[in-house]
Symmetry: C2
Subunit: 252 residues, 2 copies
Amino acid sequence: MISLKKVKQKICPVARKEMIVDAALEILASQGVASLTMDKVVAKLPCSKGTVYKHFSCKEDLLMGIGDKALTILIALFNRAVAFNGNSRERALAIHLSYLIYAILHHDLFQSVIAIKSPTVYNKASAEKLAKHERLENKLMAIMHKLIATAIENKELTNINKLNPQQISFALWSMNFGTIALLGEDVMQCEGRRGLEVEREYFNHNNILLDGIGWLPLQKDHDYRQSARKILSQLFSQEIALIAQSGRVLVF
Amino acid sequence: MISLKKVKQKICPVARKEMIVDAALEILASQGVASLTMDKVVAKLPCSKGTVYKHFSCKEDLLMGIGDKALTILIALFNRAVAFNGNSRERALAIHLSYLIYAILHHDLFQSVIAIKSPTVYNKASAEKLAKHERLENKLMAIMHKLIATAIENKELTNINKLNPQQISFALWSMNFGTIALLGEDVMQCEGRRGLEVEREYFNHNNILLDGIGWLPLQKDHDYRQSARKILSQLFSQEIALIAQSGRVLVF
DNA sequence: ACCTGAACACCGTTCAAGT
DNA sequence: ACCTGAACACCGTTCAAGT
């Protein structure tokens, strides 16, 4: 019998680590988080299971690697968004729109970051990978914290509840995350959700919440629908085009 | 060799179905959703795998059965909450507090309902079980819809955004769900979340949001902290005692 | 030293064999 | 007709054997 064994070959470890994450990402994108299998990852790779396990101590560790990639993409979007040329509330809206775009365009990555938050995953992953993920998450949140702190200083955010920037940032994140998690495409769409479109409700929730914390100008004094259109065309035309390719149009 | 085969025995199918769900529930409570295994369920049961599969076509179907139990508990809590003797915004607060209590007291059930919303589960479960689950979810949401519709009629909810009751109900649900999902006990608690307590932020978010949709009286005109205390002592003293048993105190 | 893949334990699901 | 549990396919993880 002819041996079909793969020939041993040394590759730069950093490059290989990236190859492994990329292979996992392909499976994630085409089959979803639940179908992500070490067997399938290895099948896409020019190396063996043992080698994959040298880079990632377990499946959960690999998921952390994917989550890091997700956060890196999101950080780039947030940074682009926060630079929008408008008032501070419009910049907050820009960040939120970038989060929605990310959730639609990379819904597999969005799912992977959710998965990471569950004990089954974070209890198994290595301390090193967990620390790295936390660093990235902090970097992401810092963008929002800074915008909020500045807005409070400039009296654009009246903050009637006297919450600190971290608390306000969390209120916004909870709302946005919850909306996408309950109305997103990967969620069971039962009768109770009929008539609700994630992008429209997301926009509504954003207005309600920013009014609720007293972020000026309030809805009644500003046309945020127009701001949203401006943000999308000025900052995210490329992403909107990609979303449009799947036959979907973002309307507010 | 002595045969250790279980002796065949007929049992009322309805009772057995409940026994199976209860066995699954025990595992869920002690080991979490991810550790729920058909093997473990069968081990707790006086019947075989084949019989379990006669009642539930697959693991996901069984999860739907658990989810139904979860919704039934939640519906009972909502009904108790909405009967609170106070203004309509206080009744909304009561419902939200009951949701938080449910998430803390039955966090395993909370997790199971989340799991059901993912495609891996709802795509595999039987149509019959899905329909039943949807019916229960509608029953749950109807409680909130009705309260909102009445509040709008009575001009207690000024609804400056002109959203329909379903949309408002979804805004509230998104916020509450998102807050628990991001700050709950089963979530990775990294540095960015330090200093945030789910019950305190949950209460803050609730106030911000209800102010945002103009549900009267606004925070500045009413002490909702006192309302919360009244609601908990009048309606949920039993649940609060159970939570206290695990060394936890709900403070607002 | 580094890499491979057979082997093991575990899990969901099926179905031939029992009563 | 109803129930059982061995058997199968699949998956995460390990490690003895190869180079």
